[in-house]
Symmetry: C2
Subunit: 141 residues, 2 copies
DNA sequence: TAGCATCTACTACGACATGTAGTTTCGCGC
DNA sequence: GCGCGAAACTACATGTCGTAGTAGATGCTA
């Protein structure tokens, strides 16, 4: 857990994260500034240095990690989209006391589509399955 | 549903909302700037006008409603804490595509305490109960 | 009725985040 | 040795938020 809040991304920051996330499989070592610029900067008419600044700031905020590759840096997402989202969700709910949280959750579900609720149920079921399996063996992180 | 995003409150803004929320039952007509100042401004050594500015901005952002009461305005929360939270949760999850959302939810649950998960289950159960009851009668909202 | 209290409306300003980009510096390969 | 490309540093505009002062309206009171 990073000490810095590092929530709420700006538009460009978000676009960069999206790019890093979606290319992470194909490029596990990350992308250089130039690569990011070629992918999302050119089409927006952004200067190379703009992406450099943004990536630099993002690494200082702990949103991305970077590693040397020759004279360049390779940037990788510090956490997956799922992790970051989960973090935000916890943050949002974390501000609420127990009783209020209940109400908020109810409201949330109330305004969810049946599909979303199904997803949630499925996730709960999966968690349960995993837990009961792990009860007598696994020691996960 | 407000057209303006109106998420992410600042510290003072949040404190004001908390005050409006917690006093809403006892004061359904809302609070005046002076009352808000007396309640949370004095102890922080804030000027009266500071609260005025903040409340004014918040009403422009749609966070609070206001109604005339003599020469003063009475401010009420535009939505309950639960609604606002629910909105934020939806917003957070709304950026994700189906597959990613599943993963995010799983992550979220993974990092939740058993109590939190119970709360969620309870909320789901309550929703279900309400739905099956309403299937043949109620026409809500 | 003149003045004081009280409220709103308008303006301001510093700090910080973000988008955007230029300038400087430095190392590597030819 | 020189130039290319990358990083590092600096800069500036805009928007938000916390903070507050001042001007102007209006009602109450002596």
């Amino acid at each position: 857990m990073p000490s810095t809040p590092r929530n709420r991304l700006g538009d460009l920051e978000r676009a960069v994260m999206e790019e890093l996330w979606t290319t992470h499989e194909a490029h596990p070592d990350g992308l250089t500034v130039r690569e990011v610029h070629d992918r999302i900067g050119l089409e927006r008419g952004l200067a190379y240095t703009t992406l450099m600044t943004v990536l630099d700031r993002m690494s200082k905020k702990g949103l991305v990690d970077r590693e040397r590759d020759g004279r360049a840096w390779r940037y990788t997402p510090a956490s997956s989209r799922a992790e970051l989202t989960s973090e935000t969700l916890h943050h949002t709910l974390g501000e609420l006391a127990g009783d209020t949280r209940r109400t908020a959750l109810l409201h949330f579900l109330d305004e969810s589509t049946p599909e979303e609720i199904d997803e949630l149920r499925a996730a709960l079921a999966e968690l349960e399955a995993r837990n009961s399996a792990g009860t007598r063996a696994t020691t996960s992180t």
